[in-house]
């Protein structure tokens, strides 16, 4: 029994991480209809930034702030320099460019920081183990879950209670109408990339803390899983994305144990995706696709 709870806890931690990644992706998709694969490069950038700044300054908190800030800036730059000029072309053009950017940035990390990856010089948190209702959990795992919850609730409040947030949602559901009511679609897009990328940077920083390790290819598989999550969630649907993140985290966690002999962890995630899509082509929480 305890074993099952352990698996559930692990699944939840990964689910929280996928959620932080996927929120940005699903918002980009909702706004621009682009599958923003380079989002994973932003995530890896956050992870590298956290390690480099934390090791340089000796302060992990500073590293995390730097990760979010750098990710946010790069995210906005990607929109401005790459996606904005491509908006009039079919969406696959931007998607291929995005894959190219991911390959480019990942290889850039490899060349700059080396093939072996980096570790934190001083990171006591993953080995601080606590007892929680009979489960042994470490500090980073708790922080990931708390932070994901806070960020997502904050985002929910922001998009429902503030003027800018409501304008944001209005633009996602009907850009023309929102513009005619005086919402600046351009500002909304910048805001979207700034916030979504910052969350991805945070996710990267915390995964770096959890594993005490960053490597050049860390974003690669995660990027496609985050895509799987937003498709499962019904593309552009926030609530669906959250449900799908946790569901995927749990499916992977249990799947590795029960069908691990037949498929590896990444294949399980996609098998789950394909099975769900065959049953519900519009995603877990989506309305019938247009």
């Amino acid at each position: 029994m305890l074993y099952f709870l352990d698996l559930a806890w692990n699944g939840l931690v990964f689910g929280a991480m996928y959620a932080l990644m996927a929120v940005g992706l699903t918002l980009v998709y909702g706004l621009l209809r682009i599958l923003h694969i380079a989002h994973a490069a932003v995530y890896a950038l956050g992870a590298y930034m956290a390690v480099v700044v934390a090791n340089g300054s000796g302060n992990i908190a500073l590293g995390i702030v730097a990760a979010a800030a750098a990710a946010s800036l790069v995210g906005v730059a990607i929109y401005r320099l790459l996606y904005q000029p491509l908006l009039d072309h079919p969406p696959y053009v931007a998607m291929i460019a995005s894959i190219g950017l991911l390959v480019f940035m990942e290889d850039g990390f490899r060349i700059t920081f080396g093939e072996q990856g980096l570790t934190f010089l001083r990171n006591p948190y993953p080995t601080q183990v606590h007892e929680l209702a009979g489960l042994s959990v470490n500090t980073v795992q708790i922080v990931i879950i708390v932070m994901a919850t806070v960020c997502l609730i904050g985002l929910a409040l922001f998009t429902t209670r503030t003027r800018i947030g409501i304008g944001w949602r209005a633009t996602v559901s009907d850009p023309v109408m929102a513009t005619s009511f005086g919402v600046s679609a351009i500002k909304v897009r910048y805001l979207n990339f700034a916030i979504g990328s910052a969350l991805a940077g945070l996710a990267g920083a915390f995964i770096a803390l959890l594993n005490n390790f960053v490597e050049p290819t860390m974003g690669f598989v995660v990027s496609y899983k985050a895509l799987a999550v937003i498709v499962l969630g019904g593309l552009g649907n926030l609530l669906g994305t959250l449900i799908a993140s946790v569901a995927l985290g749990l499916a992977e966690s249990y799947g590795t144990i029960f069908v691990g002999g037949l498929l590896d962890r990444d294949a399980i995630a996609f098998l789950f995706l394909i099975v769900v899509l065959i049953i519900r082509p519009q995603g877990l929480a989506g309305i019938k696709a247009v």
Partner: protein, 282 residues
């Protein structure tokens, strides 16, 4: 020609076959597939297994074609239910699923792959010529399909499914046919690859290969057989020319992809058309 020359020619031929066959699915019929390497791999593994069991060259190649196109029909059925971006992500899934599955199968050699595939008996020159012949046949077939009524149907489905259906084009059937043809050719390429290298490992058919193939199609200009074939040749030769920069191969590839998409979203075919228009003084 040297042995090196033949091997470059063989790889170039295989890439042209794969890119042109993907172009049938994606360029003509508009079904975005990011899992083409999985079909290539299925063909390679099937042919390798048959060859190792003692089957003759033609039989192994046919086995590769059959296994790959069966898999293609299954994914084709998924394309009937899923549209556009959903299909793109699902085919990414197929790519990962294939590699994840093969890795864990001991009877397919697992991580180590299948080695000791018997030689085709044609020698390296014969292999390269066989591949070249298949490549030319593929290009000719693709050009023929493009001009045929079915090619018109494919393009109609790619442009606008609803309209195609309303003028009586059997959309579902055509999608399935496009997937079957495209994946069958990929399977043939896989079989030829297995005989050419005599050694297959899961990583040769990973997602990045699917991306490179899609890059060939998009850089060549989706829908244009000759543009895609040219892009496949250029993208195969480029790493050979820049071999001294091998360390930065992926960096250059990624950067090139970004730049081409950013400044020439129509690909080579788009540039070609633009150039012609300027020559004609428009």
């Amino acid at each position: 020609m040297s042995a090196y020359g033949y091997s470059v020619m063989a790889v170039m031929g295989l890439n042209v076959m794969l890119a042109v066959s993907l172009n049938m699915i994606t360029g003509l019929c508009g079904q975005f597939s990011l899992g083409h390497a999985a079909f290539y791999g299925a063909g390679a593994y099937a042919a390798a297994s048959f060859a190792t069991a003692g089957a003759a060259l033609p039989l192994s190649l046919v086995a590769g074609i059959v296994v790959s196109s069966l898999l293609g029909i299954v994914v084709g059925f998924a394309s009937l239910r899923l549209r556009h971006d959903f299909l793109a992500v699902t085919t990414i899934g197929v790519s990962f699923l294939f590699v994840g599955f093969v890795r864990k199968q001991l009877w397919l050699g697992g991580e180590m792959g299948l080695g000791k595939i018997p030689p085709s008996g044609l020698g390296s020159q014969g292999n390269a010529l066989l591949i070249l012949a298949c490549t030319l046949a593929t290009v000719a077939f693709s050009l023929y399909v493009h001009r045929s009524w079915m090619g018109f149907g494919f393009r109609a489905v790619g442009d606008d499914e609803e309209t195609a259906r309303s003028i009586g084009i059997p959309v579902s059937l055509y999608k399935l046919v496009a997937f079957t043809l495209g994946t069958a050719i990929a399977g043939l390429a896989g079989g030829l690859y297995a005989y050419f290298t005599q050694f297959v490992v899961p990583d040769s058919f990973g997602f990045i290969v699917s991306v490179v193939l899609m890059a060939m199609v998009v850089i060549g200009g989706t829908g244009s057989t000759l543009g895609v074939a040219a892009a496949a040749i250029i993208l195969t030769l480029l790493p050979e020319v820049f071999r001294f920069m091998n360390e930065y191969r992926l960096l250059i590839f990624g950067g090139l992809l970004v730049l081409v998409m950013r400044f020439a979203p129509g690909g080579l075919a788009g540039l070609g058309r633009g150039g012609l228009a300027i020559l004609r003084g428009r």
